[in-house]
Symmetry: C2
Subunit: 252 residues, 2 copies
Amino acid sequence: MIEGELDKRGEGMYDKMNGIGAHEVIVETPDHGSTLGQLSEKDFENALWAYQERILDLKKDERFRYVLIFKNHGEEAGASLAHSHSQLIALPVLPKRVMEEMEGAKKYYDYKDRCVFCDIIHQELKDKLRVVTESAEFLAITPYASRSPFELWLIPKRHSSSFVNTPETEYASLARIFRECLRRLYTGLGDPPYNFTLHTSPFNGMINDHYHWHFEIIPKLSKIAGFEIGSGFYINATPPEDAAAFLREVTL
Amino acid sequence: MIEGELDKRGEGMYDKMNGIGAHEVIVETPDHGSTLGQLSEKDFENALWAYQERILDLKKDERFRYVLIFKNHGEEAGASLAHSHSQLIALPVLPKRVMEEMEGAKKYYDYKDRCVFCDIIHQELKDKLRVVTESAEFLAITPYASRSPFELWLIPKRHSSSFVNTPETEYASLARIFRECLRRLYTGLGDPPYNFTLHTSPFNGMINDHYHWHFEIIPKLSKIAGFEIGSGFYINATPPEDAAAFLREVTL
């Protein structure tokens, strides 16, 4: 830990940003030919445990504000190594997107006195239209305003702001439904390239009432082009209701 | 013009958003085999005039808040038609990215009493390190925090918040430097795929002191993957100073 840098932490954000970070590769399997969805439930669960352990370890370094866990699968989705792996980047600042999501969730909470994600879960379980699969603890949906065809969110049913606070007993259940989602994509869409990202509360304020951790899986089936770059809006020709119905019907 | 929809305009933004818009394709040349940079200066200028004319025409429809002009060149950049063309999408809301840029520029102006883009121009002309080319009226730079290798900004030296207010006499000059930039990319990098977007003030507040219109050209040389999706930050391994030096040296 470098004291001089630590001293600067409170004084604003981007001004005092240091060139400090961590980048780790989480090798999900020793088998070079397997994809994540092809692993056994136990091996999948071990990858999730690795995420948790690495976040908790990096949290000890006070220079970091956030740990972003993500996976790029397939060349089109930016994977440069064929062997199945996830990645982790620890950052000395809160990423723009994380900040936006936190602020949006906080605003909703201040207005409604309810977590926006809990409300989404409630609504989706009632509507059923965008539910792909569910278990006692988790829900998989194609979100209402999906940015990409077959975008999938995997979200704990009980309110929980940080991934690392997931009860030990629920990891197997999370592995099972996460694996099922990836297998539905793999079989239904012919092993599409995809990215997933873990969305979880930053170190500063890990337990709160307004944010709700989840995974977002985004298949790379369309191109980000001038319109998306210039507007921040996404053109998606596949309604999430159709995507959910299609994924539900896939025979595993 | 549909009266019922017009009535709703003032009442908030996304709540009252209607499924209304315009999408136009601007065919830049009758020659199927030409790229935009290969056109004559006169033909290039005509494409710019078409942008201006279409924006001014669509501005008459009070349901629209913004017209986004963009171009996708090459399959990797999302072009689905080979024939050289730009596109225009008129929107009933201000796009997220445009809003962010406007707010950022406004914040800087309120703090410094100066346009942030005018300050950038001043700084870049002093440093020279990131200048690719310039004319009496325009400056082409690889911006300080380039998101992509060889990202290029084309910006009028004199403060001007809206593209459509460009003096008639400057269109030829803009066409000349824009064409030169595209040719430097084409020759230097072997016809790379790219997107460009016109950044200009929205209809509501077209003339202001804080915003400065410009074109942003983003070659598609790296992939947007999990890190970028999850953070909103961009990994770029080519320093803009190296990109500018490389592009300056290209023999046309």
